[in-house]
Structure formats: C-alpha cells, structure tokens
Amino acid sequence: MKTLKDVEIGQTAVVKKLHGEGPTRRRIMDMGLTKGVEVFVRKVAPLGDPIELTVRGYELTVRKADAENVEVE
C-alpha cells in the first residue's frame, strides 16, 4: 500500500482511501483530504517532520505518522 508518507517532495498524488480512526482521521477528511483529491507534497519541516501539503488550493501540515494513514495512488 502506497501512503502519503511515501510520496516524494515535489510530487503529486491522488488520495485513494483513509485508514485509521477517530478524531485525527475525521480532521484529515474535514480539511479536504478525501477520496479522489489531488495532493501536492510541498516540503518537509527542517527537523524532518511534519510535512507540508497543498490540497484544494491551500497549505496543510500533517505529521508523517498521520500521513501514513492516507492511502494514495
């Protein structure tokens, strides 16, 4: 399974499914990371985590541990 964590910086991916559960998952969906949306992985923080994404025309940051729950293709 390829996840958002595996997407290289500067690459674009399409969200396939969201795994995990509870508040964090819901929050990720609420922020617009839903099935079929295009995500651009913009950069990684200076200390290697979290990562910055562009989704639905704005910037979003998530921790790598949470990005692992976002299946992409």
Binding site: P23, I28, A45, P46, D49, T61
Partner: protein, 764 residues
C-alpha cells in the same frame, strides 16, 4: 424584538475583523487557527440596529464532535437557534471554506454567505461568480472585504431581512444517491424523537454515528438497531464507512459548485508571493536559523538588557521612575496636604500597600505591550503557524505544542508575559500545561536570588546560575512528560493537522487592537489579585505585637517605654538574632507567621523563620527575597554606607554563617520553582480563567519545588557529607522513585470519546 445573528466561519477567514467591524467592540484579531476560543457577543453598530446581537462563534472547519470549538459552536446553533447565520467564507480558499457551509445549510436556519477577501481574490486574478454561487447554494451571497470595511453595510441589511422573514436556504441536496436514501430512512425512524427543525441535521449526524447526537436523541434499543442497519447497508453498498461517505459527498458537491462559479486566475503550480516567502522561511536548511533569529530579535526588543530593548527600558522606567518616584511623590504631596503623616497606618496603607501594589500591576504592562505587539504582528503575518511547523518535532516529545517554545523563552525575561504568551497555543490542554510550567524558567527578578546564594555561599561560581537554568528547563520537560500522563491532560489527542495560512501584510489597526486588548485584560483581570495580595503582605509586615502592644512595629519600636532592654533580650532569644541587631521587622506579624510556618521547610534544610519570611515576601516580587534578607540580616544603610546591592553583597558574610551550602542551594531552588510572584499568579488566573485550574497550577508548582528541594537537600547533602542518613533520606528516596515511576509509567489512555465529555463540560 431582539434579533440574534451568529457569525460562523473557518479560522483565518477574517471573522474576527468582520465582528469588530460590525459591532465596533474591541476584539482580538489574529492569523492563527482557533484564536477565538472564547465566546464573544456584540451589539450591531448603529442606533437603528440596537436590538441586533451578533454572536461570534469560534473559528471552525467542521461541525464534527471532536474538537472543543466545534462542539461549542454546534451546541450553540442547535440549542440557541439564532435567527440567522452569517457564514463568512474566505474567497481565496473557497473549497475548504464551503465545507462548513454545506453543514450550516442543513441546520434549517436562515443563512447568508459573506464572501470575504474579495480584494485579494481579484488581485490573484481569480473570478468568483457570486450569482452562480448563490443559485447553487440556495442562499444570498454578499461580496466583502472586511479588512477594508467594504460590503458590510449591505451584508447587515440583508442578514436582518432574512432573519425577519425567516427565509431558509433552498439548497439543492448536498448529499445524493444511496447516502441520501439512507438519511431519508433514518429521518423516518427518528421522527418525533427530535425537534422537527433539526430532523435532517440529526439524521445526518446519526448516519455519521455521531455519539453526542445519538446520546441526545435517546432512541429506544430497537430503533437504534434499525438506524444501525440502515447505516451498515449503505456502507456495504458504497464500500466505505459512513463518516467518509458524508465527507466525500460534501466535497463532491462543493467541487461541482466551484467548477461552475470559480475561475482560478493562477495556473496550477504557479507560486504566489506567499508561497515564495514560505519557501525561504520554512526552508529545510534556513528554517531553524530564521526561527532562532526571529526569536532572538523578539527577545532583544522586549526582554533583553541592551540599548534596543525597548520593553525592558519602558518597564524599568515605569517601576523606578513613575512608581518609584513620581507617583509616591505625588501621593506624598496629596497626603501631606491632607495632614496624613508619614508613619501612620493610613499613610502606610496607601503608599506601601496600594501604590506599591498598583505599581506592581502597571510596571509589567509596558514590557508586555511591546512583546504582544511583536507577537501580534507575527500572528497576523501568519508566522505563528510556521513556528508550530518548525518546532513540532522537538516539543511533541514532551507532550507540548511546538508553540510552547515562545512562553518559555519570554519567561526568561519575565514570567507574566510568558504566561500570557501561551495564548497562541491552540489546544486547551497544551495551553494549560504551558501555563503551569512556564514560570519554572528563572526570570529576571529571580537573578538576584541566584546572585545572593552564588555570591554568599559558592564564591560567585557561575555554575550556580547555569544550574538554575538547567533545572528550570528540566522541570518544564519533566513536568510535561509527567502531566501528559494524567487524565486531565491526556483526553483527546490533539490532531496536528493544521492549516498554514497564507502570509499577508499585518493590519495596523488589528495589531494595535490585539496588543491593547491583551494588555488591558491583564490589568483588568490580574490587577485585583496583585493589589489585594500586596496589601495583605504590607499589613503583615507593618503590624505586629511589640511587648504586648499591637500596632505599627516601626512606631512601637521608637517608643522606649515599650521596647525595654528586657524585651529586646527576649525577642533576640526567640528570633535568634544578636541583641544589637534586633529591629522592628523581628516583631512583625510576618515574623511570627514565618516562625510558625518555618517548620514546613525543616525537611528542605532551611526551617528557620528568616528564609521563610523571605520566601513569603518573594511572592510580592522575587527580587524582594534579597531585600528582605537585607532587613533580616540587619543591613543598615543609615551608617552612611551605600544602599544594599542588588545581590545583597554587604550581607554575604552573615548569610554564609547561617547556611550550609546544600541548604542554601535548596533554598534557592525552592524560590526559583515555587509559586511565582503575585503578578504572575494574576496572569495565570487570567489565562486559566478558572479558579480550580489556577489553584491547581500554583499547587503543582509549589509541590514540585518542595519535592525537588527536599530531594536535593537530603540526597545531595548526604553525598556532600552535610546531612546524616535519616528519615528525610528515606522520604527523598521514595520521592525519587515516585518521580521515576510518574515519568516512565504508561499513563492514562483515553478510551473512545472519553475526555470529550470533559471538553464539553468546561463550556457548559
């Protein structure tokens, strides 16, 4: 008739600016997600609208049951049923903003959309067809530029009109297909059990398996099973879980709407000015140095001791000149004219109690204003969100938000603005924890204590100061780890899924307003605590029982009929001071209290009334500890000698004679870590906004100080050969083991939605 209008929208959508614009009330404007956690209300500006109340809801992205802000907002909307909702939508970020709109539309409350930041939309070359948008959503859409007050007049008129007419949105169905069918079925099942007005909303929430809503509907077991059957059938058919189904439906609907109504001017992948700034500012290599540079700059301006340190200069001026000379001088003149003589009770109460107390409040304000001005600019620009982005990796190890760095840094200058700076931390639990631990940092006023102990006992060793900072930082880190494992701080894990708002030029008025708002709220809400406490300490210091006569000790000591040689000998024996050095302070109430309370500090190695009294006066201001030592160790500047040095250099010999090194070190530690000065306590009270939590914070700090000092004195003393093995040693060992247990235990694991209950109760 009164009209209630709720203002709802995403964080960073310009909601607070619009609220200020509508009501004219002074409000805080920031560029940091979730800044408006408090409930704010205001009357609409203008005489003809005096019956219109605007309710500012917290900035939210959704109406999910998972965050405090969202629960507060939806509870308000469903139970208070406002007459209309103004939904403010950031035109530059329309897709995600409309996600909340789709949820608000389901509430069956008249709604109008305020499409904000239209000036920026045009500047970006984007086009929004408001007419198409309005048709697609079934409600009115008004273009707005809240920052420039464009369009608010029209918005107000239309909002009032729809409220009066109770004009509901005629939206196309947001949710379609199988999900729509499922929700219809649920509506039929729960019909009669809920308010007809919110039937649709409740049905959707039931479909999402929203536990809070399910609880409030209180269905019978059989109906619950029916609902569950509908949900699982639909989930099976669509091969997804119900929450995802609804979210997908919403975003699909939004994409349809924006495809029709929005034309993006910028090509995909083209960088905006904000993107270009961000490329440098949070750069992999430059990110940390830039962060360090900005923090140093803020520290230098607000807190440092250099010529560019405006904050320190202004506060020193207020303390030393305004409240050191001018105000007391002015009161001298006034009191003189009223024939209130120096040395009387009234004079003492006014000058030493009230004026000094008010001075303690006001003295911190200039520095705080300078600091808040800088922080407000950072927030408004959008840098604060990046601070969390850059620092998250480090601070999450101790269970703190990346932004906890700022309060700690500021607290090395002064704990009061340090505590207030914790405002920028969005998660309530993290914020509380930050408030509780920030003042462990040695602040400027604690430096004289360090200087006194280092100078008198340790030959001025720089290691003492270094160890003070080390122990301060260590206390914050360990407290973070320990506290995070308690139920009150565990609860819902704060999801670190955060918007990084676009950078923009800060609004001059907004920043000034935010700065003033914070400074004023400190004066208003912390002031009373500080003044009252100062007056109480003044009373205890000024009054006492001298040889059976109660009154002002200074006055009674001048009376030779009262202060007989016999009494001096008695007092000297009781208070353990040489007869030649007995002074009025030894007979004060504070000395008696200190004498009685000193037993508490026996296990820490300084169970003597002098350090006890010094510790108490340290609550007024930490530098008072040294001043009190000066008095208690009878430093007398009347003999033509200079004033007592800041670090009490003149009394070092006498202090050295009284303490073993480890006892002195223990005393220093306790004073550095225990409850901060009254001003900081006032700030804690203001930020906690809750009596229980204020006391918990003070109790925790004092308890922590006691434990650390006890361990240091007993174990350190034994290693150094100063303290014999005894009961204290055993207690110290037990405490060390307990601490280690608290640090390494697994900690409280929140189950399901537990913790959420608490979050709601707080706002109930």
């Amino acid at each position: 008739m009164e009209i209630k209008i709720a203002l709802a929208g995403n964080p960073n959508s310009g909601k607070t600016t619009l609220f200020n614009d509508l009501t004219g009330s002074r409000q805080y404007v920031g560029n940091w997600p979730g800044v408006t956690v408090e409930k704010k209300e205001g009357k609409l500006k203008g005489q003809e609208y005096k019956d219109v109340i605007i309710q500012d809801l917290p900035g939210i992205y959704s109406l999910s049951p998972y965050t405090l802000e969202e629960v507060v907002s939806r509870t308000y909307l469903v139970t208070e049923k406002p007459d209309a909702i103004i939904n403010i939508v950031d035109g530059t970020n329309i897709e995600r903003n409309l996600y909340l709109t789709t949820q608000l539309l389901e509430l069956n409350i008249p709604i109008i959309i305020a499409l904000n930041m239209m000036d920026l939309v045009r500047k970006n070359g984007d086009k929004v067809d408001t007419k198409a948008l309005s048709e697609a959503l079934g409600c009115e859409v008004v273009e707005l530029s809240a920052l420039k007050s464009e369009g608010t007049e029209a918005l107000v008129k239309k909002a009032i009109a729809i409220a009066n007419a109770n004009k509901l949105a005629t939206a196309n169905e947001v949710i379609s297909g199988e999900a729509k069918e499922a929700i219809k079925k649920i509506e039929n099942i729960i019909k009669g059990e809920v308010d007809e007005k919110f039937l649709h909303w409740n049905a959707i929430k039931a479909f999402e398996r929203d536990e809070k809503v399910m609880e409030s509907i209180n269905l019978s077991e059989s109906k619950k099973a029916e609902v569950e059957k509908v949900i699982s059938e639909c989930e099976k058919a669509l091969d997804d879980d119900s929450e995802s189904i609804i979210t997908n439906e919403r975003y699909n609907y939004i994409t349809e709407v924006t495809d029709k109504a929005v034309i993006k001017g910028r090509k995909k992948g083209e960088l905006s000015a904000s993107d270009k700034i961000d490329r440098v500012v949070t750069n992999r290599i430059l990110g940390l140095p830039i962060f360090a540079g900005i923090m140093f700059f803020i520290y230098a301006i607000a807190m440092g001791g250099w010529s560019i340190s405006i904050g320190t200069a202004a506060t020193d001026f207020t303390n030393d000149v305004i409240f050191g000379e001018w105000v007391p001088g002015l009161f001298d003149v006034i009191l003189g004219a009223l024939h209130v003589e120096e040395g009387t009770v009234l004079y003492g109460l006014i000058q030493d109690g009230i004026v000094a107390g008010v001075g303690a409040v006001i003295g911190f304000v200039p520095q705080m204003l300078v600091l808040f001005l800088l922080l407000s600019i950072l927030e408004d620009i959008g840098y604060m969100a990046r601070v969390a982005f850059v620092m998250d990796r480090i601070f999450r190890q101790f269970g703190l938000s990346g932004k906890a760095f700022i309060p700690c840094l500021v607290a090395t200058g002064c704990g009061v603005p340090g505590v207030m700076a914790s405002r920028t931390i969005e998660n309530e639990r993290d914020r509380r924890m930050s408030i509780m631990t920030t003042t462990f940092m040695p602040c400027g006023a604690k430096l004289p204590i360090i200087g006194l102990i280092a100078g008198a006992i340790f030959g001025g060793s720089p290691w003492i100061a270094a160890s003070a900072y080390f122990i301060g930082i260590g206390s914050i880190v360990l407290s973070g780890i320990i506290l995070k494992k308690f139920k009150a701080f565990a609860g819902i894990p704060a999801p670190f899924v955060m918007e990084l708002p676009a950078y923009h030029v800060p609004s001059f008025v907004g920043v000034l307003r935010a700065t003033w708002e914070r400074g004023w709220s400190f004066i208003k809400r912390a002031g009373s605590v500080i003044v009252v406490s100062s007056v109480i300490i003044w009373f205890l210091t000024a009054f006492g029982n001298v040889n059976g006569h109660f009154g002002l000790v200074d006055e009674l000591f001048e009376d030779e009929a009262v202060v007989t040689d016999e009494y001096i000998n008695e007092l000297s024996a009781k208070m353990d001071v040489p007869t030649t050095e007995v002074n009025s302070m030894d007979a004060s109430l504070l000395a008696s209290v200190g004498d009685a309370a000193s037993i508490v500090f026996k296990p820490l190695g300084f169970g003597n009334w002098k350090p006890t009294v010094a510790t108490v006066t340290g609550l007024v201001a930490k530098e008072e500890v040294v001043g009190t030592f000066g008095v208690l160790y009878s430093y007398d500047d009347m003999d033509g000698a200079e004033e007592l040095g800041e670090e009490g250099e003149q009394i070092w010999d006498r202090v050295r004679a009284d303490y073993t090194p480890i006892a002195a070190f223990s005393f220093m530690l306790f004073n550095l870590l225990c409850a901060p000065c009254f001003a900081a306590i006032g700030a804690i009270k203001r930020e906690m906004n809750n009596r229980k939590w204020t006391w918990a914070a003070i109790g925790y700090m004092t308890g922590w100080a006691y434990v650390i000092s006890l361990i240091t004195y007993n174990l350190g003393g034994m290693i150094a050969g100063e303290v014999a093995f005894g009961f204290g040693t055993i207690v110290a060992i037990v405490l060390v083991v307990t601490l280690l247990y608290l640090i390494f235990r697994k900690g409280y694991q929140p189950k399901g939605n537990e913790g959420l209950e608490m979050a709601v109760k707080i706002n109930a």
